[in-house]
C-alpha cells in the first residue's frame, strides 16, 4: 500500500470534475445544417468570433486528460512505496494482564478489550505486509508467544493462546525485549488497555489501547491459613470506581450446588442468599471468615460487572507436608536440645516410622530408609571453641536467618570433614552437606559443652531450616493458593517423569518433571488438578491485583505513527518520478492525437 506524505494535495482532484464540466459545456451547441462549409473556411481571425471550435475528442482525449490530472495529483501527494519485496518484521507486545478481559461478558457483542485487539491485529496483518510477526506476552516478565507468524491466519491461531492471565503487565520490559527480538528494522506494536504514560519517542513504536473506563468491584486480596486447628480466611473487596456502589457477596464451601454449600460465618449468612455490600468510591472492605481445619475449597463470588475474572476467588486448604523426624541421639543433653528445636517447628513430628529426616549423634549409624535425609551431629574429643569469624554459605537453605556474631561454636579442630562446607570457622568446616541423588547427608560438628550456639536463636533456626528444607523436598505443592500468573511448584516422588495437569478450562496437558520438580504456570483463574502417578494435588489461582482490577484509567486510542519521515526512510521510496513520467507520456500521446486530428 502506498503512503502519502502530503495528502492535502488530493484537494487538487477537484480539477477532475472541472474537466468534466469543461467537456460537457463545450459540447453544448446548436446544430445547423448548411448548404456548404465553403464559406466558413476562413480561419484567419483566430481570437475573434468565428474561429473554429474543435470539438474536444472524447472519450480518449478526455480520459487521457483525466489520467494526467490523477497522475499529477498523486505525484504531488508524495507517494511512497515499500522498497523491495520483503516485508518488515513486526513484534506485537500483548498486555497479558487480566484487565484485558474487561468487557468480555455475554451481553457485549463486541467482546472485551482482548477480543477487539485480536480483530485489530488481524486487520493490520491482512492490510499490510509483515514478515515475520512475533508476539510477546507482557506479564511479570516478557515471554514469547509461540513461533513467528508469517500471515494473518497463523497470527490469529497464535493469539488463541493469549489468555491474559497475568496479574501485571510490565510493558517497558516487554517493549525492550521486542526491540531486541525484532532488530533495528522491526516495528513494535503495543496492544493494551490504557494510554501510554508519556509520548512515544520511537517512530518504530505504535501503541494501541482497547480499554474503556468502567466501575468495577473486585476481590483484591484473599488468603487462607491454617492456625490453631482452624482455617482462617481473609477476603478484601474493593469498589474501584469514582462513585459509591453496591455488590453482592456469596460464599460457598464444598462442592458447588451441594446441600451443605450454604454456610454460617460468624454473623454473616452466606450461600444461596448473597449478602449485599455497599462501598464508597475506592473503599476496600475486609471480610474475615473461619473454617474448620481441612474444610474443602471455599468459593467467594461477587455479582457480575465489567471484569468477571476478579469477581470470584477459590481458596483451597493448605497442604500439610509434615516431616517425620527420627531422633537417634544417644547423648541425653544433645537429644534434649534437638527435641526442643524440633518441637518448635510446626511441620515436624518425632517418629521412627518411615522417617523423612534422621538426626543422630552416631558417626556411622546406618539409615534404613533410602529417602531419608540425615543430620549427623559429631562430637569430637579434639575440639576447640571457635569465636569466629564464621564463613557462611548464604546460598544454602540451612543458612537462611543465621547470625553467628558473638556465638561460640565448639567443635572438632581438624580441617577434614566430608561434604560441601556450609559454615566454616576459618578453614575448619563446622557444617557440611553431601548430596546423593537428591538425598542430603549433613554433618554438624558440635560440642555443647564448648558452645553457646544451642543457647542462641541460631540453634532452632538451624533446625527449622533443616525441617523446612526437607518439607519442601517432600512430594506435594509448595502453595495451594496462588495469584493468577504465578508458578505452582510441585515436588514429585522419585521415578515420576511427568505429571498431568487439568486446568480450570478442563484442558489437559502433560508436563515433564526435572529433578523431581515441576513448575506449573497458572495463567487461567480457577482450580488446577494435578496427577502424578498415584498422587493427586490441587491448587487454585485467583485474579487478585488492585491495579489490574482498577479500570478507571483504561482508555481506547492509538498513539504513534509508523509512516512518519524517519520510518519512511527505512523502507519506503518516493515514486513520484514514475507518476510524472507517466503523465508526460500521456501528455505526449494527447498532443499527438490532437496534432493528427488537426492535420486531417
Amino acid at each position: 500500500m502506498p503512503v502519502f506524505t502530503f495528502s492535502i494535495a488530493f484537494i487538487a482532484l477537484l480539477a477532475a470534475p472541472a474537466l468534466v464540466a469543461i467537456y460537457w459545456l463545450r459540447n453544448q451547441s446548436r446544430e445547423r445544417r448548411v448548404s456548404s462549409l465553403l464559406l466558413w473556411l476562413d480561419e484567419r481571425q483566430m481570437w475573434e468570433g468565428g474561429r473554429l471550435i474543435h470539438r474536444l475528442q472524447t472519450p480518449l482525449l478526455f480520459f487521457l486528460e483525466l489520467l494526467v490530472i490523477l497522475l499529477l495529483v498523486t505525484a504531488a501527494a508524495g507517494p511512497m512505496m515499500r522498497a523491495g519485496e520483503s516485508g518488515r518484521p513486526l513484534v506485537v507486545v500483548l498486555d497479558d494482564s487480566f484487565s484485558m478481559l474487561a468487557g468480555a461478558g455475554k451481553d457485549n457483542a463486541a467482546g472485551g478489550a482482548r477480543d477487539r485487539a485480536i480483530r485489530a491485529i488481524e486487520s493490520e496483518l491482512k492490510g499490510d505486509r509483515y514478515e515475520p510477526a512475533h508476539f510477546v506476552l507482557a506479564g511479570e516478565s516478557p515471554q514469547l508467544l509461540g513461533e513467528a507468524a508469517n500471515n494473518a491466519d497463523q497470527a490469529v491461531k497464535l493469539l488463541q493462546n493469549w489468555r491474559c492471565g497475568a496479574t501485571a503487565a510490565k510493558l517497558e520490559e516487554a517493549i525492550s525485549f521486542a526491540f531486541e527480538l525484532g532488530g533495528p528494522r522491526a516495528r513494535v506494536l503495543v496492544v493494551t488497555d490504557h494510554a501510554p504514560q508519556q509520548d512515544l519517542s520511537d517512530s518504530r513504536l505504535q501503541w494501541w489501547s482497547f480499554g474503556s473506563s468502567q466501575p468495577n468491584f473486585a476481590f483484591v486480596n484473599a488468603a487462607r491459613t491454617l492456625r490453631d486447628d482452624e482455617d482462617r480466611v481473609l477476603l478484601e473487596i474493593a469498589n474501584l470506581s469514582s462513585a459509591p456502589g453496591s455488590t453482592t457477596l456469596s460464599v460457598e464451601s464444598g462442592e458447588p450446588n451441594s446441600p451443605q454449600s450454604s454456610l454460617q460465618f460468624g454473623s454473616l449468612q452466606f450461600g444461596r442468599n448473597p449478602q449485599s455490600i455497599t462501598l464508597d468510591a475506592g473503599e476496600t472492605r475486609r471480610v474475615l471468615l473461619t473454617l474448620k481445619a481441612g474444610a474443602p475449597a471455599l468459593r467467594a463470588r461477587l455479582s457480575d460487572d465489567a471484569l468477571l475474572v476478579d469477581n470470584e476467588v477459590t481458596l483451597l486448604p493448605e497442604s500439610s507436608r509434615n516431616v517425620r523426624v527420627d531422633l537417634r541421639a544417644r547423648d541425653v543433653a544433645m537429644r534434649a536440645l534437638v527435641e526442643k528445636a524440633v518441637a518448635s517447628s510446626p511441620n515436624a513430628s518425632l517418629s521412627a516410622n518411615k522417617p523423612d529426616l534422621v538426626i543422630t549423634d552416631g558417626g556411622d549409624a546406618k539409615i534404613e530408609n533410602a529417602e531419608a535425609w540425615t543430620l549427623r551431629i559429631i562430637s569430637e574429643n579434639d575440639a576447640a571453641s571457635f569465636l569466629g569469624p564464621f564463613v557462611i554459605d548464604r546460598s544454602h537453605p540451612l543458612s537462611e536467618g543465621l547470625s553467628l556474631g558473638g556465638v561460640v561454636w565448639g567443635g572438632g579442630k581438624s580441617r577434614q570433614l566430608a561434604g560441601t562446607p556450609v559454615v566454616n570457622a576459618g578453614d575448619v568446616p563446622l557444617l557440611t552437606d553431601v548430596e546423593r541423588a537428591g538425598i542430603h547427608e549433613l554433618r554438624l560438628r558440635l560440642r555443647p559443652d564448648l558452645s553457646t550456639l544451642q543457647e542462641s536463636p541460631n540453634w532452632p533456626i538451624l533446625i527449622w531450616n533443616l525441617i523446612n528444607w526437607r518439607a519442601q523436598a517432600a512430594p506435594g505443592l509448595r502453595q495451594t493458593n496462588l495469584r493468577l500468573g504465578g508458578d505452582a511448584a510441585l515436588t514429585v516422588e522419585s521415578g515420576v517423569e511427568s505429571v498431568s495437569v487439568v486446568d480450570p478450562r478442563r484442558a489437559t496437558r502433560r508436563l515433564p518433571a526435572r529433578d523431581k520438580s515441576v513448575l506449573i504456570r497458572a495463567d487461567v483463574a480457577g482450580v488446577y488438578e494435578i496427577s502424578a502417578n498415584q498422587n493427586r494435588y490441587s491448587f487454585a489461582a485467583n485474579a487478585l491485583r488492585r491495579e489490574e482490577s482498577d479500570l478507571t484509567r483504561a482508555a481506547s486510542g492509538r498513539w504513534g505513527n509508523w509512516a512518519n519521515a524517519t520510518a519512511l526512510q527505512w523502507e519506503y521510496r518516493s515514486v513520484a518520478w514514475a507518476l510524472l513520467l507517466l503523465a508526460l507520456i500521456a501528455l505526449a500521446v494527447h498532443a499527438w492525437l490532437v496534432a493528427r486530428r488537426t492535420s486531417r
Binding site: S29, E31, S36, W40, G50
Partner: protein
Amino acid sequence: MNDDYREYLIAGEKAGMRYAVEPPRTASAAPAGLQLGRQAGASLEFRDHRDYQPGDDLRRIDWNAFARSDRLTVKLYREEISPHLDVVLDGSRSMALESTAKARAAIGLAAALAVAAENAGYSHNAWIARAYVEPVANGSNRPALWRSLALDFRGNPAEAFTRTPPEFRRQGMRVLISDLLWLEEPTAVLLSLARGAALLVIAQTLASVDADPPERGRVRLLDSETDERREIFIDDGAISRYRDALARHQQNWHRACRQIGAVMVNVIAEEVVADWNLRVLVDAGVLKV
C-alpha cells in the same frame, strides 16, 4: 420522384405561363434555325469587319481588304441561333437544403423557364447535374411530366461539366440553376457549358440562410453534402466575414460570366416562391413578360 418535387414543377409551370424566353437579340419569328443571335457567329449573314486578332479563323480573313489596305481584317457574320432551351439543374443535396425553399425555387424555376421557352416557340430539354450531366426523363415534355428528379447527389456537380461535357443542342440557349457553392474555378465550368451555346444563363439560387448566416452563438454546422461537422462561434465579425466571402464568391462568378458573355442572375429562393415573380430574369433580358 419525390411528390413534393412534382408539386414544385407544377407551381413553376404555372408561374412560367406568364413569361416567354427572350431571344438573345431581336430575332425574327422564323422557324427553327432561322433566329439570329446578338453575337457574331458562323451564319452566312455578313455583319461587320474588325481587325484580326491572333486565334481568329484564318478562313474569315478578308483578303480583298488586305490587298486594299494592307491590314488584316476578318469578316464577321451574324450568329445563327437554334430556338432551343437546355435547362440544367444542380442535383446536389445542397439544393434541397432542409427547412428552406431552395428545392422548391430551383425546380420551380426550371419548370418556369421550360414553359417560358415553350411560350416563345422554343423546344426545351431538362438536365440534371450529378456525377454526370444526365437528361431528365421526359425532360423535353411539359415540366409536370418530368420524372426522376432527385436532389441528393453528395459530390461536386461542377466536375460533371468538365469530365464528360453533355450533348447540348448547338446554338441553343442554356440555363444552369445552381447555388454554385463549390470550389472549382468558374471559368472551366462556364466554358464547358458555353461551348456551342447561343446564350448561357447562370441562375444562382440561394436560400435566405445561405445569404445570411445562422443565428449568433455557438453553432455546430453540418455540411448538407458531406455531413462534415464544424464547431463555430458566430458573432458580428463572423457574419461580416461570411458575407464578404459570399460576395467574393459571387463576384468571381460574375467576372467569369462577363468574360465569356454569359448572363448571371442571383435569386433568393424564399423570395422567388413567395410570389413567383421572375422579375430578376426579366431585368437580365432572359425572360419577357
